[in-house]
Structure formats: C-alpha cells, structure tokens
C-alpha cells in the first residue's frame, strides 16, 4: 500500500507577500497628499487665479501710482514703499490660499473620502502633517515665483518715474520672500482651522474672521489698548514681515513672522489632538 501524501493547501500568495511589504511611511503619506493636491481641478484653478491676481493687482497699483506721482505730496512720497506697492495682491491672495487650505481638509469630510484616507493611514497624524507640509510647500514655491514676477513687473512700471527699487536693495528680498512665506503660513493655519471645524463654510468664516475681521474689531477698542493688541493679531504680526518699512506700532519683522507661525502651529496642534480623539 502506498501512502497518499495529502498536499497541504499551498500558502496563498497574499499571505506570503503580506510579510514585510508596504509599510506606511511619512514620505509615502507625503506622496499621497501631493497626488491628492494636484489631482483636483478646482485647486489648480484657484491657484492659477491667485497667481494672476497677485501679478495683475501689482501692475494696476503701480500704474496708478506712476499716474498720480507728479501730484503726490512729499509726505506721501516719503511713505511710499515700491516693493509693497507691486505686491498689493497679497491681500487678495491670502483669501484664496485661506479658502484652499480649509478645503484641503474639509473637502475630505464633506465627500466621505476622509474615511478612505484614515483607513490607509490609521495613525492619522501623518496625514495632517503631510497635508500641511505639501500645501505649505506648494504655496510657498508658487507664491515665491509669483511674488518675484509681480515685483519685477511692478518695478518696471515704477521705473518710468524712477521710483523703483532693485531686488538687491536692503530689505527688498525679505519683502519678496516674505509674501510667499506669509501665504504659506496662512495656508497651514487654514488647514488647522479646517481640521478643527471639519466644515468648509465654518472654516472659511473663521479664517476670514482671523485675518480680516479681527483687526476691524480691535479698531473699535479704546486707543490705549489697540496698540498693544493689534500688533499681536495673526495678520498684523505676519504682515510685519512683508513690509519694507516696518511701522512703529508693529512687531519687528522677525518677531512678527514668528508670532504668526506660532498661531498656525497652535491651530495645527489643536487639530492634531482632536484628530486623534474624534471618530473619523
């Protein structure tokens, strides 16, 4: 009699391959968030619009300045900042970046894709860091190029009245880079706000409130308090870094941008705590 050897069920492919492959690493999460950011058409168009607006507004404001320059009084001439005039678009760009930052995270909650995201990265926090890093970096690079173009175009316009400055002049590089840095931090702050409220409308309202409404509210306070408070408001602190001639009431450029970055960091930290605690 021969013994029959029953072949054991061969270990399935998937079991063999499961061992040691496909660890979730931060670099991989970064790559995933980069794919997500570049694969939404709406994001692409808002960014294009932001680039366009910053350059166009710079041309508009500098042309207006050149137009009126012969009639401009000495006091106003002294206050004029050629680099900031060409970068006026910052005030509109911050709204676009703020909205996009909120949508980067709330869009996932609104569509339910946050569940797919969190099932792929169950530790969750890498997703938040990666979103902030990718959106912050994309905003910084894109807005740095935009800022440079707007600056050069604006100075070309201003040169008709010989009131332009060169990129190498003292304090000018800080302004050009500062615009991009301010916008990148705005984007990260917006992601933090979005992750806390998980709702697009609410998130956008809060970001606009922080950047635009809060300074107005403080204007209504007694003058004695205003000076102490205003300079510490997020947008005031951050924009101190972007002004060629820092105003006397404002924080110094370096302190200002640090305070602004701390606001963003604190918001992101609050978002991280909630992200760990709440159901996805």
């Amino acid at each position: 009699m021969s013994t029959t050897i029953t072949p054991g069920t061969p270990a399935p492919d998937f079991a063999a391959r499961a061992a040691g492959r496909g660890r979730v690493t931060f670099v991989r999460v970064l790559r995933a968030e980069w794919i997500k950011l570049r694969s939404l058409r709406s994001t692409f168009w808002v960014l294009v619009a932001a680039v366009f607006v910053v350059i166009a507004l710079g041309l508009l404001v500098t042309s207006g300045t050149v137009d009126r320059w012969p009639d401009t009084g000495a006091a106003e001439r002294a206050r004029f900042s050629a680099p900031n005039a060409s970068l006026t678009g910052l005030y509109l760009a911050q709204l676009a970046i703020g909205v996009l930052g909120v949508l980067v995270i709330t869009g996932e909650y609104a569509t339910g894709s946050i569940r797919a995201t969190m099932s792929a990265v169950p530790h969750r926090l890498p997703v938040l860091w990666a979103k902030a890093a990718v959106f912050g970096a994309v905003t910084f690079v894109l807005m740095l190029v935009t800022s440079l173009i707007a600056f050069l175009a604006g100075q070309a316009v201003l040169s008709k009245e010989h009131i332009d400055v060169a990129l190498g002049d003292p304090g000018v590089p800080r302004v050009v880079v500062g615009v991009a840095l301010y916008l990148a931090i705005t984007g990260i702050l917006a992601i933090g706000v979005g992750a806390v409220v998980r709702n697009a409308a609410g998130g956008i309202a809060i970001v606009f409130g922080l950047l635009l409404v809060l300074p107005q509210v403080v204007q209504a306070l007694p003058t004695a308090w205003q000076d102490h408070i205003t300079r510490y408001l997020p947008s005031e602190a951050g924009q101190a870094f972007t002004r060629w001639h820092p105003s006397a009431d404002a924080l110094s450029p370096n302190t200002g941008i640090t305070v602004f970055a701390l606001y963003a960091a604190a918001t992101l930290a609050a978002a991280a705590v909630l992200l760990r605690r709440r159901d996805a």
Partner: protein, 330 residues
C-alpha cells in the same frame, strides 16, 4: 480572521452597537445581516479603527487595525459607496491610496481593469453612478491584495450583472482562503452569497450561524386559512407555540400548527374552510421575523416589518396573537 469582543459604541445617548461578540473566519463568505440602523456600518467602522469603541475591542488577525504596519495589505475595505472626493478621478483616488503603502502604479491599473472601470477611470468620481462607485470601492479594497475584506453593502446600486459579478468575486476570494465579511440588509442577497451569517438588530447579536441553519431556525412554515368562522378557529388553535396573524377579516396566517392539524380541528368542530394553503416562509420573511423586535425604523405602524405582503397596508395589519416565542435565536 476578525474577532469582536463585547464591542459597544454609543453616540451620545444613542447606542449603535451593544456588547457585540463574534468571529469572522477565513475561507468562507460571512454575511453581516441586519435591518437599517442595526449597527452594521458602525461595527465595520470600528473594525477599521475609524470609530473608537465605547468599550470592548475588535481585532483583525490578532491586532487592532491601527497596529498593522501595512493596513491596506492586511484589510481591504469598502465602507460606503463613493467615499471618494467627488472632484478627483478614480485613477487618482486609487493612486493616492496606493502611494501611502508603496503599491506600484501597475497594480492600480490592474484593479481598475479587474472591476471594469477602464473606460471611466480618468473621469471625475462626482459623475459616477452608485454602481460605478461600488466598483471603485471594490477596486480600493483589492488594491493591497489583502487577506481580509470588509465590505459594507457592496451590492447596493449594482445592476443584476454587477451583483452576479460581485457574488462570484467574493466567493472566489473566500475560496482562496481569505476572510470575507460583507454586510447587507437583504436576506435574499445573503442567502446567495454567504455561507455563514452574523445577524444583528438594534446593535445586538441575534444569530451567529450558518445560512442554512438560520433559515431553518427562523422560518416557521405558515398556513393561510380562509374561513367565515375565523374568530372561533383562532380560539381553537391557540397554544404556546402557535402564532396567528390576521390579514383580512376572514383570513388567518397560522404558524406552529401543520395544515393537517388545522384541517382536523376545523372538521372536528364543524368549521367551514374556504382555503387551507401551507406555504414556506420566504428568506426575507425569516429574516424579518428574527429581527422583528429589533427593527429600528418602521413605516406606517408596528407590524410592517413582518413581511413584504403587509407593507403599507396600515397600522392594523397582522396583529399578533399568541406569545412571541422567537426573538433572540442565539
């Protein structure tokens, strides 16, 4: 292998899942059956670490989901149709999921072909039908070639061809030795796809049994009796194992007594019968029956959940006489 131990989830005052314990074994398709609101989706979200259990625990292959270093290779999930950003294409959704765990683009194309989405893979998911969304969900679940699949209502919105496709796919995946756990509120679907059943109602376990046993246990045969003497016959048939429902004034739906016995009793008491029709309870009715006390949302009255035939006929259909002997089968 999925193991839940005394799993409980409360949302504020609302208890969605209560003390649920079960094991889902590899090699067979296990159905997770329960009426809407029974806590199936909540349980599945807890399996995937998306919702935190209020108490109790659930593990996949011996570890909490989040403790697996490569979760997409361990568990593939279809949570709800189109858990995808509506502005993104199917291809980019899969590509971003794949990127988190280093799955090559080749595999993304492979799963797209597998679920038949080649034509629309580059289109925005926002324009997808529910069925296409389900196919994309399946593709996402299969991406990491996982040994365990957790699918929440995967046949929802699929056309008959799609339903057949998914049934065959799930069975073949189970036959390969994988753990396949899928939820549905449709018993008929489960009977065709699953071998094992975990039945829940109002967040509690009702049955953990093979499909065959569940049908046998939960479905008493019924006899339809039409007689002008319905009230008298009802009194004569009354007993602890007997349930009688009235659909029309002169019609009784009797379970717990055979048609032979009803005929004999009627003859012995001189009751005229116009109809005496034994019929097997459908799978759907068996399921309705077992979860009758556990249905959360009812339409039109307290007894609509007892069968498709009585749906929408008003609050007074099928009043239950006789004691409720069934309820918790497990």
């Amino acid at each position: 292998m999925i193991t839940a131990e005394a799993l409980t989830k409360r949302y504020g005052p609302k208890t969605a899942v209560e003390g649920l314990s079960f094991t889902v074994r590899p090699g067979v398709v296990t159905g997770f059956l329960g009426p809407n609101g029974a806590g199936k989706s909540t349980t599945m979200r807890m399996i995937l670490g998306l919702d935190r259990p209020t108490s109790g625990s659930v593990t996949v292959n011996g570890r909490r989901y989040a403790d697996h270093p490569a979760p997409l290779h361990e568990v593939g999930a279809l949570l709800e149709a189109k858990a995808v950003h509506t502005g993104r294409s199917a291809y980019h959704h899969l590509l971003s999921m794949a990127a988190t765990t280093g799955i090559p683009t080749r595999r993304v194309h492979q799963v797209i072909r597998m679920v038949g989405l080649d034509e629309v893979a580059r289109k925005r998911v926002g324009g997808f039908s529910l069925g296409m969304g389900q196919r994309l969900g399946i593709a996402t679940a299969l991406l990491g070639d996982p040994a365990t699949l957790v699918l929440d209502e995967p046949v929802n919105g699929l056309d008959p061809e799609g339903v057949l496709w998914i049934r065959t796919l799930l069975k073949s995946l189970a036959a390969e030795g994988r753990t396949v756990f899928l939820s549905s509120h449709l018993m008929s679907e489960m009977a065709l796809t699953a071998e094992h059943l975990i039945v829940v109602g109002r967040g509690r376990l009702i049955a953990d049994t093979s499909v065959a046993d569940f049908i046998a246990g939960a479905a008493p045969d019924q006899v339809r009796v039409r007689t002008p003497d319905a009230d008298r016959l009802r009194a004569l048939l009354f007993g602890p194992e007997v349930r009688i429902a009235t659909e029309e004034r002169d019609v009784l739906e009797v379970s717990g007594v055979s048609s032979d016995d009803i005929g004999r009793i009627a003859a012995a008491h001189g009751i005229t019968l116009f109809e005496l029709v034994p019929h097997r309870v459908s799978l759907e009715e068996a399921f309705m029956e077992s979860t009758r006390d556990a249905v959360e949302y009812r339409v039109g009255g307290p007894s609509v959940g007892t069968g498709a035939t009585s749906a929408g006929t008003g609050p007074n259909t099928r009043p239950r006489t006789g004691p409720r002997t069934r309820g918790r089968a497990a």
